[in-house]
Amino acid sequence: MAHVNTVMGAIHPDELGPTATHEHIVWGPPGWEHDPEWWFHYPQVFAKCLAGLVEYRELGGRSIMCCSGIGLGRDVEFYRMLSKYSGVNIIVPTGFWAAAGIPNHFLGKSIDYLSDMFVGELTDGIGNTGVRPGFIKVGIGRTMTPGDEMLHRAAARAAKRAGVPVVSHGAWEALKVLEILGSEGMDLSRVIISHCSHGGAIDPVRDRKVASMGAWISYDSFTVTNTSAVTHYAHPDEKRAEAVKQMIDAGFMHRMLLSSDNNLFSLGWMRSSPYVGKATQADFLRSTPGKLRRIGISEEIFWKILTENPKQVMAIQ
């Protein structure tokens, strides 16, 4: 039976509703808990995340894919509480951020060890929580290092065995990513190439190529426009809207995902509130339709992309 794994259990793909496909409830490189400078007050953080999700739901969102993988703040007990009290479906991944973010314990492990580990989480649940991830998230650094390639191969093997999609944080090496995943025999229609709208990563030619190979293009940094913030990938949303328009005009509306890559709370770094007044997923729903409407994309299309596309790519058969 087709389904999608959320932290509260499996749901039918048609229950997903409007879904922001690349977000983070919390995200931080592993190890922040050892650094007292970045400790926080857990109840306040819970309240903040809950408020963010409730607002997201009030504005029409129904599901969120939190792309924080193993050791990156993925705390399923915390997420279950948030999902229960906000009514937003939260989907978490298995997998590591990139070679640079693999926790020390896993350095030097083989591709088979990693893929077995991913499959273990996907079939038996995370730790002893029984919560199953809904997809695999891996990524690269500035370039595709040998460690990143290993991660992608492990992800492809695990995805094939468990029938889940792979999200790759790797727009700037998209074709390399597809080549590696494809060489492991992965069905490219289960691959999402993330961060195609990051500052410095916009490339319509690549996007059309990727989409015509059957993979998904993810424009997922809407609202990240504040250049005084610490992000290297901030730039005006108008550039992102333009990329969306070009893809729609080229007939690839059904290969595209939209999101904003916001953290409701950052672990061990400063990109999000409460430290600085950063945008949230609710701001994404608030501001993006207007940006698109100005260049002739109706709000109806925005919601259609948010609703129809995620359920196609996320459904586990």
Partner: protein, 367 residues
């Protein structure tokens, strides 16, 4: 300021007794808790370590220096209880070992994600430094260690305990010293100078460069313990004598690691020869001994030998090889005491620094 911080409080140097200078209680690489094959049965771990400590004490041992550092499974509240119950003093450590084994990604990447922003940039800049913020610098590491040495070590679940660390650990991989390791090594030396505690370094194949970095920060050789000098891959008694002659301390601290697949394994007989050579050359007053025993492995096996291996097996072996009672007493009791007793801080700005460090413990802004 001549008392030594243990987990149960400050004690007089004379109370240390026989010391095992480099051991681990819980031990695992950061991230072990995510491994499907790692099992942590806390009650079992407690009982097992308690048994090991009791055996060590029964043979006359009084103090264990727990040198796992910040991120390798250290659990201060648990260790403190073990110390109270077993009657063995536990001296604990701040700092990191090599990047691969012990520095989590957070400390390597923080400078990449956060380069200073708004008011925080100014609050957190180092006075006199052109950098907009202190993150990703040796000063950042220094504050991390300094606060653990003066305020108390970080415990699990975002708690700062009241137990202070008594030495700083630093280290590096075998092939090179990475940027994060370099910051940690320099930061260790800076924190040690400002508090008077010693530094324990390992990664003996890079010892020359590490020693350079530590002394470049103004740390005198007498405050540096060069650990792992009995690493089977890098044994060199002339190197050990060279460093002993300039006043550094030599750690033969993998006693009992005799069999593969441990890459640093070596028969204890060869270790005894090393110690004998050092004693015969008149360097008994520069050597410390220990077993690097692991009480309970987190995602890795514990060692077959325990803390008692030192007194049960290795010390008799040394005696048989002709190392005298007096030299043994020097290596097991006097040397650790001299190393661990804090000296006067050599950094004159220590007081100002303390004030400045307060600024780094910012209250959380309301959300």
């Amino acid at each position: 300021m001549s008392e030594i911080a243990t987990l149960t409080g400050m004690i007089a140097p004379e109370a240390l007794g026989i010391v095992a200078f480099h051991e681990a209680l819980l031990f695992g690489r950061p991230g072990w808790q995510h491994a499907p094959d790692a099992v942590f049965d806390r009650a079992e771990a407690f009982e097992r370590i308690l048994g090991e400590l009791a055996a060590f004490r029964k043979l006359g041992g009084r103090t264990i220096v727990e040198t796992s550092g910040i991120a390798m499974g250290r659990n201060v509240p648990m260790y403190r209880r073990l110390s109270e119950l077993s009657g063995v003093n536990i001296v604990s450590t701040t700092g990191f070992v090599s990047q691969e084994r012990s520095i989590p990604a957070h400390f390597c990447l923080i400078g990449y994600f956060y380069r200073g922003h708004g008011p925080f940039q100014w609050k957190r800049a180092i006075p006199g430094s052109p950098a907009p913020s202190h993150v990703g610098t040796k000063e950042y590491m220094m504050f991390l260690f300094y606060n653990e040495l003066t305020e108390g070590m970080a415990g699990p679940a975002m708690i700062r305990t009241t137990s202070k660390a008594a030495l700083v650990r630093c280290g590096s991989g075998d092939a090179e010293i990475t940027i994060a390791e370099q910051q940690a090594i320099r930061g260790a030396a800076m924190a040690a100078r400002k508090t008077g505690v010693p530094v324990f370094s390992d990664g003996v194949s890079q010892v020359e460069r590490q020693f350079e970095l530590l002394t470049a920060e103004g740390l005198p050789p007498g405050r540096i313990v060069i650990g792992h000098c009995d690493d089977g891959r890098a044994v060199d008694v002339s190197r050990d004598m060279k460093y002993a002659a300039i006043g550094a301390w030599i750690g033969y601290d993998h006693i009992g690691w005799e069999t593969r697949p441990a890459p640093h394994a070596m028969p204890d007989g060869q270790r005894a020869e090393l110690v004998k050579k050092m004693v015969d050359a008149g360097h008994a007053d520069r050597v410390v001994l220990s077993c690097s025993a692991i009480g309970y492995g987190l995602g890795m096996p514990a060692t077959r030998h325990g803390y008692s291996h030192l007194l049960e097996s290795f010390v008799p072996r040394l005696a048989k090889a002709g190392v005298g009672e007096r030299a043994l007493h020097t290596m097991l009791v006097e040397n650790p005491r001299r190393i661990l007793t804090p000296v006067e801080p050599t950094d004159k700005d220590a007081d100002r620094l303390h004030e400045f460090a307060q600024g780094f413990r910012l209250p959380m802004k309301g959300s």
